[in-house]
Each structure stands twice: as C-alpha cells, then as structure tokens.
Subunit: 337 residues, 2 copies
DNA sequence: CTGAAAGCGCTTACAG
DNA sequence: CTGAAAGCGCTTACAG
C-alpha cells in the first residue's frame, strides 16, 4: 500500500505553492503556465483530491453525498426507488449511501446517525413508523431531510407518497363495475402507513358505492406469502365466500395467487393486487394490478432534495404520485360464472 | 440551520481539554469524574463526532465505508447482492455506498473514483468488462478491491462468482435426461463474462454428451425480453424447431415465456431458464430454472472484503458459488407429446 | 495574479 | 493520568 500523493507533493513537484495547486484543482484559471505545470505534476503523480479533507475546510461543508434509508434494498420496490434517487444524484456528481432498516426504528436511527456522522448533504428516509423525534436534531444540525413512501410522525418535511388510498379505491370501483359487492381485503401490518392508507381507500370506496362494509372480509396483519395463502384458503372455504379478492401488497398477492390456483379457483374468483409483479401478464388469467411507480417516486424525491439543497425555501411540500390500474384478466372476472 | 456542536464546545462546557473529550469519545476510561462531566456535556449539547474529521487525522485512515458498483441496483439480482454486502458491513459498523454502471465502463470508472475520493475502505465491483487497468492505481493508493459476479480483466484480486458454466451444464444434462437433443440456447451480450461462461457451459455439456453442436440453435446478443420473444418465435417457426429452450438470463426467460404462450407451445416445448423468477412456480407449467444465490454472493464477497481489511494477506482467492436446478414442470416436458 | 498563514474538527505524539 | 501543541489534507481570507 503506497501513500496516496497529496497536494503538497503536487506543489513540490510543480514548484508552486499549495494555494496555487488548490486553485488549479478547483478550476480557477490563474496563470496558464503555472496551471500547466500543476496539471503535469498531477498527471505524473496520479494525484486525486481527498474529498473528505476538502469538505472539512470548505465554507459550505458540502460532501456531495446523500443517504437513503429504506425498509429493504433487496425489495424490488425500494431498489427501484434507490435507482431513481441515484440517477438524479448522479447528474449532480453526488454519490448515494443506501441502507435497510427492515422496518426496525432502531436500525433506522443507527443508519441515519451513521450517515449524518459522515456529513451527508441530504437524507431520504422511508420512515419505519417509530418515534422519529430524534430526526429533529439531525435537521437542526443541517441535514436536509425528506420522507418517501410514508410521511413522518412528528416531523413535517418534504414528502413523496404513492396514491395508496386512491389506487385501492380505483381497484374497488373496477371490481364493482364488474358486478362484485363481496370484495375481500387482505392487508399488511397496520403499523405501516401505506397499509393503513390502502385500508382507508377500501373503506371509502365501498362507502362511496353505498356498499356496507362486511368486517369479516377484511383480513389485516398479513405480512408474507404463506400467511396470505392461508387467509385466502380460509376465506374461500366459507359458506359465503367473497367473489373478489383485493390483495394490498406484493407478497400477499403472490400468496393469494398460489392459494387460488391450488384450489382451482383462479378462473372463478376475481383478483386485483396492489403493486405490479414480473410475469403477472404471463399467468392465465393475467393478474390485474394497481401498479406503483417506484422509480418515479425516487426521481421526485431526488428533485425535491436537490431543490432544497439549492436553498429553495418555503413550507414543506407533499407530492402524491399516481398509481395505474392494469387490467389483465383476473380483475375482470364476474361474480358467478 | 444551527452550527453542529464540536469537541471544542464540549470541552468548554465540561471544563476539560480537547484531548480529554477525544479520549472519552473514543472509549478510553481515564478519570471517572472527568468522563462523567464530558458525557454530560455531550448529552446537553447533543454532540456527535464528525467521522470525516476523525478519519482525516486517524493513523489507519479508515472511513468505515465501502462502495459497491453493480450494473443496476434496480435489478433484483444486484439488489440482493447489495443487501448481502450491506448485512455484512453492518455487523462492523460500516456503511455502504451503492452505484449503477449500466454496463458502461466510463460510468464504472466515475463511480469508483468518486468512492475512492471519499476514501472508502473497500470497493466491491461488478466489472463492466472494459479496460480495468485504471483500478491498479486505486489499489496502489490503498483501496481494497474485490470483484463479484465477474472477474477483472487485467487485475487479479479476490473474486466471487456464480457457477455459470456448471449451472447451464446441469440444465443441459437435465434436458437430455428427459430425451432432448435439439436444445436451443439464447444468450445475452457476449461481451459480458457471465454470458460467455453460460455459453461455454452449454457447449461443454453437449460435448460431454456426444451431441454435436448445431450452431443454428445458438442465438446470442439477445439483451431484452422483446428480442428474446422474437428469437423464440423465429426458432419455433423453423421446419426443424428445437424441442427444448435454454434461456441464459432473466429477461430472455421472460421473453421466451411470452412467445411460447402466444403460440400455445408452452406445453409442447421444454424450457429451462437461468436465474429464478417470482411467480415462476405459479405458471402452468411451472418454469424450471437454474437459480443463482445473489445474497450469498454478497455475503461471501463481504466476508472476503473484511478479512482483507483485517489485513489477511496471501494470494487472491476465487470463490465459486453453486447454482441450484429447480424442476417445476417446463423442464420436464419430453421431446414429443 | 501568487504565496504564507490560519483553520476546518478531529487524533496523536509529547511533556508534565 | 491530563493538557498544550502539532498535524491529517485540504480551503480560504489576507498580504504582497
């Protein structure tokens, strides 16, 4: 391991002062002959500036890095979101830290504090829903905070959300238009904001259609595919089964697909899932879904972030990204056939 | 934006020297009464150490951060790999930068140089296959380099790979065991190492089975689903179509699935895909795949990385992570039925 | 315009 | 053990 050359080395080789090297490195023209000598020394030594030292002394203290805390970077939804943020950051020469909280408030806090200790310029957080008052201190210390996918609890900052309630409501009305009134709702953990929003969309859409809510058709706290499959089988074994299924999350949708197929019910029960799935269009019937747009969420939150970093002032903004119903067959099955 | 409190502020409030604060922050015991005074001042001010400054002066110059350059963080394979690295890094209090090269050597280089300029301790790279001699300088400067998913071109460092050739060979033998001799191979861009390896596995497996290679059944440079669907339709429209399809990548598999279904051939032509897919088991027939283990790749590369950072010496190591054939129906269809 | 000096927020010899 | 001083690799007033 060789010692990395420093500005001092460059200055010595070029026969100029440290200040002159710094100015050349920072693009300040100065005397052309000196600039050229410095550039030559830089090339010879293979010098590259230490951004951490540069950042330490610089007046604006900007590190050209941002941190993103999501529930799980391996989840395709959050991976697409990360990519959206990264693409926007790249256009500004900003690099992206990524971390997974696994919905654990303690891990969220560790990640956030790790990022701020490394002096990120901005921090994009998918809040896990715990006490987020600790973020106040990060904010006061200068970190530009944004929430994405879910709003904060105590903190009110720029936030980008999917239209969860609206997307589910569209799905309910779509099923109703195909003749359904007994629509079961399978939802995730209610401590997650998006789960609560989707349930709200379900209730409000039914109310708007003057359909009384049958609470026995609402099954919550379903957090994985296996649980979803069990719940689906249970619902379909009833003497008065639902004629349609609304699955409010990816893994739930997958579980329901398996359960319906194993009971040969996939041509007899309507099904709409929230979140799109690879191969959903290759199944028979294709799975009708309400698709979110995670990379758009990422881009939007990135745009807001860099606007703030460019010192846009004003009250916190909230952006709702629309969802899209994609009919593929399963959502267009009628109540009896 | 309030100025972040510094060690100097803590020292002033606690009535001790800067050195004492530094020692307390770094866990050096010292006089208990002083340590307590310092801790109180830290709590009152909400002081948190600036890691970038700490790193600058520290003897080992370690930043507790690593950088990961993959082709695309939004690709589920690379997202799982990222998660594997992150999980291992977290156990050491190390944070992870992530970046997407989109297979572009220039973007790869920009990302790498951005990470090293921020003095990451380690750098995990999925090399895009261009000239990687620039990495030599990064390595000499002290960055611990590792390759994952693909080996480097000029540089020989610790590398973690999937058993691409072996996985494809297993698939060929599996199809052969079910009676196939005319097995078409659809491969991705041959400038990508994994694509070449998979083709090699195909050729070697056929040779091992004493089946002459029919070059007209090999279709390469297929880079997306649409192209794969077209190639599939073209192959199946021949007077002597293949009886089995081997699709060497995720998007190719998806394209082939669509093409076979649109021609009602999915129950008549055998099909094995490389890389697992969500819902592959919900299709009829289920799609037989050779599954990679990306999170295991991530963990393995993380393990190697931290061993090196703990100053393990010795020659570069190469780890091959096995793949798994998962029979689900499509790969068990016979040549004529 | 350039260069010498101070300083960013820390850690680390060194003296007491 | 503690504290004063030097220094990590830079940037930034400031003097010439």
């Amino acid at each position: 391991m060789v010692r990395q050359p420093t500005m001092k080395d460059v200055a010595a080789l070029a026969g100029v002062s440290l200040s002159t090297v710094s100015r050349v490195v920072n693009g300040d023209p100065g005397r052309p002959d000196l600039a050229e000598k410095v550039q030559r020394a830089i090339d010879v030594l293979g010098y590259r500036r230490d951004m951490t030292a540069s950042n330490l002394r610089r007046a604006d203290r900007t590190s050209a890095s941002v941190g993103l805390v999501v529930a799980d970077v391996a989840n395709p939804f959050f991976a697409a979101l990360l990519r959206g943020v990264e693409d926007l950051a790249r256009t500004r020469g900003v690099l992206t830290y990524a971390g997974s909280s696994d919905e654990d408030p303690d891990r969220e806090r560790e990640l956030v504090q790790g990022f701020t200790a490394r002096r990120v310029d901005g921090l994009v957080i998918v809040p896990s829903g715990g006490d987020d008052s600790y973020l106040l201190r990060e904010q006061q210390a200068g970190a530009t905070l944004l929430f994405v996918d879910r709003p904060g609890v105590t903190l009110n900052v720029d936030t980008v959300l999917s239209d969860n309630a609206g997307g589910i409501a569209t799905a309910v009305r779509h099923l109703h238009a195909h003749g359904h009134r007994r629509i079961a709702f399978l939802g995730d953990l209610q401590r997650i904001f998006t789960s609560r929003e989707r349930l709200r969309g379900y209730r409000e859409a039914l109310a708007g259609l003057d359909i009384p809510v049958d609470e026995s058709l609402i099954r919550l706290e379903v957090h994985n595919s296996q649980a979803a499959a069990e719940v689906t089988r249970e619902l379909m074994a009833r003497s008065d089964p639902p004629t349609a299924l609304l699955t409010a999350q990816n893994l739930i949708t997958i579980g329901a697909i398996h359960a319906l197929r194993s009971r040969q019910l996939h041509h007899g029960v309507a099904h709409v899932g929230f979140d799109d799935l690879v191969l959903a269009d290759a199944l028979d019937p294709g799975i009708t879904v309400v698709a979110q747009n995670p990379s758009s969420l990422g881009e939007r939150v990135g745009t807001l972030l860099f606007e703030r970093l460019d010192s846009v002032t004003g009250p916190p903004r909230r952006i709702i990204v629309p969802t899209t119903l994609i009919p593929r067959g399963s959502g267009e099955i009628g109540p009896r056939q």
